[in-house]
Structure formats: C-alpha cells, structure tokens
C-alpha cells in the first residue's frame, strides 16, 4: 500500500481514505472521507450514522480532540485508521446528580443552528438512542465551565495559544488550538532531539531547505520486515481504547517509551483510566487492526542536519544516531555492515543490563544500544545468529557452560562444584566441565580428548566408545580443530594462530585474555624476552 511514499508523508497519491469511527459506546462505523475534508465535514457525515447532531460530536484522534477547522490531511491517517467519536455530555444534567447517562431518556429536538460550533450561545440538546443516550451541550466560551472537556472545546474557538516553546515551525500551523498533534513534525523533533539540537536545526534551516521531514521510524516485522516510517499513537493504559485526551504533550523518549509518564482522560464509559500508553504503527502497510503495532527504533532519525555517515561519509536519510555525547551518525547501510562485521567476529558486548549489544563504532562511553530491534536490520539469518550467540553469552556470563558436543551447544548452568556435566535437555552428552571433553576421572588431558560418551538405549547393541568416536561425521572437523588450535587458557575457546607473533588475544569478546601460544598461560614480559616470535 503506497498511499504514502516512504519519507514523504504528505504527498498522498489518492485523497480518498476509508477510516473507521468508533464511539465511546462501542459502535464502529466505516466512513469514506477525502483528505481535504475538515473535521467539521466529517462530523456532518457522521451525524446521521451515529444518529447524533454533528455539533454534539467530538472527534478524538491520537490523544487530541480535533478542532472543526482542521483538515484531515494534517492527521496523517492511513486506510483503516480509527477515529474516535465522543458525544458531549451535558454539564447541566451532571449537575442534577442522579442522572447517569444510561438513565436519561429525554427526547429533544435538535437545533442545528451552530454548524461550526464556534458560537457563544448555549444550545442544549438531548437525544434518545436505546439506552446509550447522551445528553449533550455545545459549551459556550463565556459560560465559565471548569470541565476539562469543555475547556478543550472552548480552546477550539479561542484565539491561537501562545506558541509552544518546543514547537517547530511546521506545515501544520492551524492546529495550534489543540496543541501539537502526535503526527506533527514538531512532536517528532521534540521527542527525538535535545533543546540544543532543536536550536541548531532551526539555525541551519535545513528543515525547510532540504525538504527532509522528521519522522519516527519503526521496525515492522510483519508484513514489511524492514525499517519503516512510524506513526506515534496513544491509547488508554487501562482499557487500551483510543478515546482519550492527553493532559500534556510528550516531550522526550522517556514520556513515550515509559508507560504512565503522561496523564490523560479516558472517554470510554466505565473506564477510569488516567494514564496514556504510547505505541507505534507502521506507515508502510495498511493497518490490519489495533494490535498491528511496531517497535520504535529510537536511534533512527531523519537526517535533518545532513550529517555525513562516519563510515562511508555519504549523507543519507534516515540515519542511526548513537547515544554517545557526540551523537555519532551512521547511515543504515553502514550500520548493518558494522553490526554484521562485529557479529562475524563475535565482538558484540554482553552487558548485564542490556544483554548482547554494541556500542557506537568509535567506542564512546555510554553508547550501548538499548533496543535490540535495531539489530533486526541485519536480516533474519544474522538476527537469528545474534539471538543464539546472545543466549550463549548470557549462559556463560551466568557461570554456565555450553555443551561441547558438535551441533549441540545446549546451554547448561551446572552446580558450582560439579565437574561432571550432563546435557540433560539436549543431546545427553556427559562431559568434564574443565576440559570440555568426555567426562573422565582424574586430571584433564588436553592432548587426548575422549569422544562423546554415547550411551545406547537398553537392549541395543553396544559400541566401543572410542571406535564410535572415530566414526563420527564430525570427527575430521574436530580432529582438525584439535590439531590446529589451542584453547584460550581462560575460556577454552579453540584458537587458531594463522601467523604473527606468539602473543594471543582471545577473540571472544567477553574474554579478551592475553596469552602466550607457547606457554599457554597469561602473556608476560618473560614470554616477550624468550619466544615472542617463536
């Protein structure tokens, strides 16, 4: 679905959209709309379908009530997006106390004189609709209501609010009356950048100059399986419905990624939810429903200041911006190459808190990637390897061992003092924890590893273990490994010396032990003196 091209949000190919409108009473109707429509026009279209006068409807989208004069194009809707319609509840009736919405059965004629909802007169209307009756009121700007809903409504008619301090000049300026929309460029910029960065962008004016627009980016697993422009959305943390209004706009990633940071008023009946929960949708495909969400790649940004990639030096967009103090920039292609090359050398870092990850390629402090979905960019096969190795490193970090039987590699966390380890949930191999050869009594003999201790099922024929070991398909491989490698004295990773001096540095990222190929102990000054180059 190429309704929106990647990276060009407003260049719609077609103006027609089919969206769903859900009411706070659970109805769901579908509406065909044109993107040039205003919210007011949508209300008029909806009124007969919801059997409610247009004036009594409030349209809520992405945590905001939309003002009547807003054009739908500004909302960044996709096909099958969901708008929320709320019927306004009368202040007067609430004042009467006992009358809950379900008990009110008044019938009133509607007087649609206030088509644009901007008037100063109060028009009170009620409407019957099988038990889901709402009593409604178009609030006036002068009546001094304190209700939050009414406040919002009033703002729609009042002069534009003073500009938000972190608001960027953007193409959508007519929406100030309801603050920033989540889809506004200013929202993206506010969340992705520090104030200093925002200022520098403004100074550079590249935001206008390059035609590059800020975006959120997500990794869409199904169906796109790629990096896509993301849409920030919000729902009630309790009932998971979208009919809620935010009490303030999100200002940074923490607001967005940590649930409960921002309070909101949920409009769903019987829901007392007060907290907003943000999520992302992929813009690359037509949404398949409310569960169709994607993970935000918070390091990926549109390259507004046109920073060249630190590796290829080309300027492209989007780019990965690392979290180090210098905020080093890498293009997506180089980021993938970087990850894959680090993965191939098994140089990912096992971090206690963050798991198996990478730092900025310059190696800056505090630059470890916190969201593993960034590694999805490496492709399915590499990501699978990444996950497997990450698991292995986690097992090793927890004091465990990996079953050395070829093709097994099961992670086992044995008792502290136990030297005899059995691969119980894997291949059944029983081995010595120290030398990773078949289990043996007495000292380990590094030169002569026992083959796997094949234990036949009862009743089957017995095979001499040493004979069986020699007939293994992998025997040639393991023999080659035994002949050409020496184990790292610390972690026992088989290591091949393909030239150079006798000073070895263990290639396993979490080990890195410096050892001597000749002594097979830690590298010392004596080794340098005696046999550095053999």
């Amino acid at each position: 679905m190429a309704l929106f091209g990647f990276g060009s949000s407003q260049a719609a190919v077609s103006n027609e959209l089919e969206v769903y409108v859900r009411t706070n009473t659970g109805e769901k109707v579908s509406v065909r709309l044109d993107q040039s429509w205003t919210v007011s026009q949508i209300k008029t279209t909806l009124a007969p379908k919801l059997q409610s006068p247009a004036d009594n409807l409030r349209i809520i989208f992405a945590g905001k009530e939309l003002p009547d004069d807003m054009v739908m194009r500004q909302c960044d809707l996709g096909n099958h997006s969901i708008l929320h319609a709320v019927r306004v509840v009368s202040k007067e009736d609430e004042g009467k106390g006992a009358a809950g919405p379900s008990e009110v059965e008044n019938v009133a004629s509607s007087s649609n004189t206030q088509e644009d909802g901007v008037g100063g007169t109060e028009v009170t209307q009620t409407e019957k609709e099988d038990g889901r009756l709402q009593e409604v009121e178009v609030p006036s700007t002068s009546s001094g209501h304190t209700d939050a809903e009414v406040d919002l409504r009033s703002k729609a008619a009042s002069p534009p609010l003073p500009e938000d301090p972190c608001l960027m000049p953007g193409p959508s300026t007519s929406n100030r009356s309801c603050g920033r929309l989540l889809c506004d460029a200013s929202t993206v910029i506010t969340i992705q950048m520090t104030e200093a960065e925002q200022k520098s962008i403004r100074d550079l004016k590249s935001y206008d100059g390059m035609g590059e627009r800020p975006h959120f980016y997500v990794y869409c697993v199904v169906p796109c399986n790629s990096v896509q422009v993301g849409k920030l959305r919000v729902r009630c943390a309790s009932c998971k419905q979208g009919a809620l209004t935010l009490h303030r706009d999100p200002c940074n990633w923490e607001d967005v990624l940590q649930p409960g940071k921002i309070n909101a008023t949920c409009e769903t009946p019987d829901c007392s939810g007060t907290q907003a929960e943000f999520f992302f949708k992929c813009r690359g495909h037509e949404t398949s429903g409310e569960d169709d969400t994607s993970v935000a790649l918070y390091l990926v940004r549109a390259n507004l200041p046109a920073v060249p990639c630190l590796a290829c030096t080309d300027v492209s967009s989007p780019v990965v911006v690392f979290e180090c103090a210098d905020a080093h920039v890498m293009c997506l292609d180089c980021f993938v190459t970087y990850c894959v090359s680090r993965l191939n050398e098994r140089q990912f870092i096992q971090d206690e808190r963050l798991g198996y990850t990478l730092s900025c390629p310059i190696g800056c402090q505090d630059s470890l990637i916190r969201e593993v979905h960034h590694f999805k960019l490496m492709g399915d096969n590499n990501y699978e390897r990444y996950q497997r190795w990450g698991t292995e490193e986690a097992v090793l970090a927890a004091g465990g061992v990996l079953c050395p039987y070829p093709g097994c590699g099961q992670g086992i966390i044995p008792d502290q003092d136990c030297r005899r380890v059995a691969c119980l949930n894997g291949c059944g191999y029983v081995f010595c924890r120290l030398c990773l050869q078949g289990y043996h009594i007495g000292e380990c003999n590094p030169e002569d590893g026992n083959g796997p201790n094949v234990i036949g099922n009862s009743g089957s024929f017995a095979v001499d273990p040493s004979r069986a070991a020699g007939s293994r398909w992998d025997e040639a491989t393991s023999l080659a490994i035994r002949v050409t490698t020496k184990p790292c004295p610390k972690c026992r990773t088989p290591t091949e010396r393909d030239g150079g001096c006798m000073h070895m540095v263990c290639t396993r990222a979490s080990c890195g032990f410096h050892w001597c190929w000749v002594c097979q102990t830690e590298w010392t000054r004596e080794c340098m003196a005696a046999h550095w180059f053999g």
Binding site: C312, I362, F533
Partner: protein, 152 residues
C-alpha cells in the same frame, strides 16, 4: 576505478590525490584499487630523517569496519616495527574505528617514526637496546636508514 568499489574508498583515494599528506604519498595499484603503494619520508629530527620508506597498505573487504593492513617494505630499525615490517600500532588493531581513514593511519605511522615507543614493542631486541642504550639504538637506526632507505 573498479566496479563495486565502495564510494568511501573512491572518495578517500580522490582526497589523497588532491590533498596529499605532507611527506607521504599513497597511490592505489593499477590493478587493485584496494592496494596502495605508500612512501613515507623519515620525519625531520628523527633517526629516519632523509630516508624514504616504502610501505604497502591494503583495504580488506570489511573496510572501513576493519582496519587497513599496513606493512613496511623497507627495512627499518624501530622498536615498534618488526623485521617483517609489521607495525605495532593500536589503531591498526583493537583501537580501530570506522571513523578513521587511510590518511589518519598514515599520519599515525609517521608520528610513530618521530616518537618510538619502546614500552610497547614489537621488535623486542630493538626495544631492549632502545631502552638500555638509546644513543646506540639511534645510531643503528641512522645506519639502517642510510643503508636501506636512501639512494633508490
């Protein structure tokens, strides 16, 4: 330029040609754009002054994710360079970062000639002498420079 050569290598090569580093020349091989013939002039005030040192530099497939491979072709008496011309320089090993370039590598090698570091040696005998009897070590370095790095 060969097809499939990363733009970064092309750009670096162009810049090396357009704005060469003083005292260093690096020219790609005609048949292999990843292989550079490098010539470094011995820095003034060092025992290598007056010498012209040939090196080879190769950009592996993974470049710039992995470091270039650099080796002295001219014999040199230096505590951080062994008899096969291999160089002990952190940025060529674990301190490599893709933000570094051919240019920065060559500058570092030039700096290493000006300031040998006998505490992190690759050529152990040279390093020992450099520490025990620096005068003698410098004398030998001058002699080697005259013998191997001058006149051709």
């Amino acid at each position: 330029m060969a097809a499939g050569l990363p733009r970064r290598i092309i750009k670096e090569t162009q810049r090396l040609m357009a704005e060469p580093v003083p005292g260093i020349s690096a020219v790609p091989d005609e048949s292999n754009a990843r292989y550079f013939h490098v010539v470094v002039a011995g820095p003034e005030g060092s025992p290598f002054e007056g010498g012209v040192f040939k090196l080879e530099l190769f950009l592996p497939e993974e470049y710039p994710m992995s470091a270039p491979k650099v080796r002295f072709m001219t014999k040199i008496y230096h505590p951080n360079i062994d008899k096969l011309g291999r160089i002990c320089l952190d940025i060529l090993k674990d301190k490599w970062s893709p933000a570094l370039q051919i240019r920065t590598v060559l500058l570092s090698i030039q700096a290493l000639l000006s300031a040998p570091n006998p505490d992190d040696p690759l050529a152990n005998d040279v390093a020992e002498l450099w520490k025990v009897n620096e005068m003698e070590a410098i004398r030998i370095a001058r002699e080697w420079t005259r013998t191997y790095a001058m006149g051709n």
